[in-house]
């Protein structure tokens, strides 16, 4: 019977394993808050399904600029929704790119390309976070 050594304490993989669970549950919670707030703020009568989905996953006024919400800046463009957007983007992007990393590393194994792919995914992750925070705060 073969055995493998398990590092005690916090390793990167262990932290990301926990983060995946927490961020996944948080994303469901954030989406639930977004979708129910959209209903409270008029989605029941004024908003179509695509707009509802846009609000659920990225409640940014620029994201729904072409939809039928009257006065988008009135009920939505405030600090609360900016925090919501940053949380959704942070959890979503980190969860997604970490998942991509896990799946890719599962299939490439111990190869020379591994650190490069890891670095590429890290750069994509950082780029996405920076662009998203810029879009949320300054546009």
């Amino acid at each position: 019977m073969s055995s493998r050594t398990v590092q005690p304490g916090l390793s990167f993989e262990y932290v990301m394993w926990i983060f995946t669970r927490i961020s996944g549950l948080s994303l469901i919670l954030l989406a639930a808050i977004g979708i129910s707030s959209a209903f409270v703020l008029g989605a029941r009568t004024q908003v179509d399904l695509p707009t509802l989905v846009r609000w659920t996953f990225f409640p940014n006024p620029n994201h729904v600029i072409n939809s039928e919400i009257p006065d988008v800046t009135l009920g939505w463009a405030n600090a609360f929704w900016q925090v919501m957007q940053i949380l959704i983007v942070f959890f979503g992007v980190t969860h997604g790119f970490n998942g991509l990393r896990v799946v890719v590393e599962d299939y490439i194994g111990q190869s020379i390309a591994r650190p490069f792919i890891r670095g590429l995914i890290f750069l994509l992750w950082m780029f996405s976070i920076i662009v998203a925070v810029y879009v949320v705060l300054f546009s």
């Binding site: 669970r21 695509p50 989905v53 997604g96 998942g99 991509l100 799946v103 590393e105 599962d106």
Partner: protein, 129 residues
């Protein structure tokens, strides 16, 4: 790390893991699909807004069409519910005994939620709004 596999794709499919195995496979496939679709949508939206590119606009038109949304919403709801099942079973490991029942419960929640969404999507597509 990196398991040595001497198993081909099709002989791998003969592994009779049943429902939980297929949930794992779909969880991976839908996860990768979401990174791909949402990533494409984000980049397309960026170029649509900044440069008004026709290609980016067409990508977003496809992305927002009801046919594509039926696929995307399947992917999102399945991945979300399946992830919730995994997280709950990981937080309370004693419920692992009931993992097959949890999978049935997951589909029992999935069918009405997804069915309602598809119903609304098709209703909107037919009425043309």
């Amino acid at each position: 790390m990196g398991l040595k596999r001497r198993v081909g794709f099709f002989s791998g499919l003969k592994y009779r893991g049943g429902g939980p195995m297929w949930a794992w496979v779909f969880h991976r496939v839908t996860g990768i699909a979401m990174v791909l679709f949402v990533g494409t949508h984000v980049f397309a939206s960026f170029f649509m807004q900044q440069t008004g590119s026709d290609l980016a606009t067409n990508i977003n038109i496809i992305y927002e069409s009801w046919i594509f949304q039926i696929i995307v919403i399947f992917i999102v709801i399945f991945h979300g519910l399946n992830g919730m099942r995994i997280a709950i079973l990981d937080i309370w490991p004693k419920f692992q005994v009931f993992q097959r029942e949890a999978l049935w419960l997951q589909w029992l929640i999935f069918i009405p939620v997804y069915g309602l969404t598809v119903f609304i999507l098709i209703q909107r597509a037919i009425s043309g709004s």
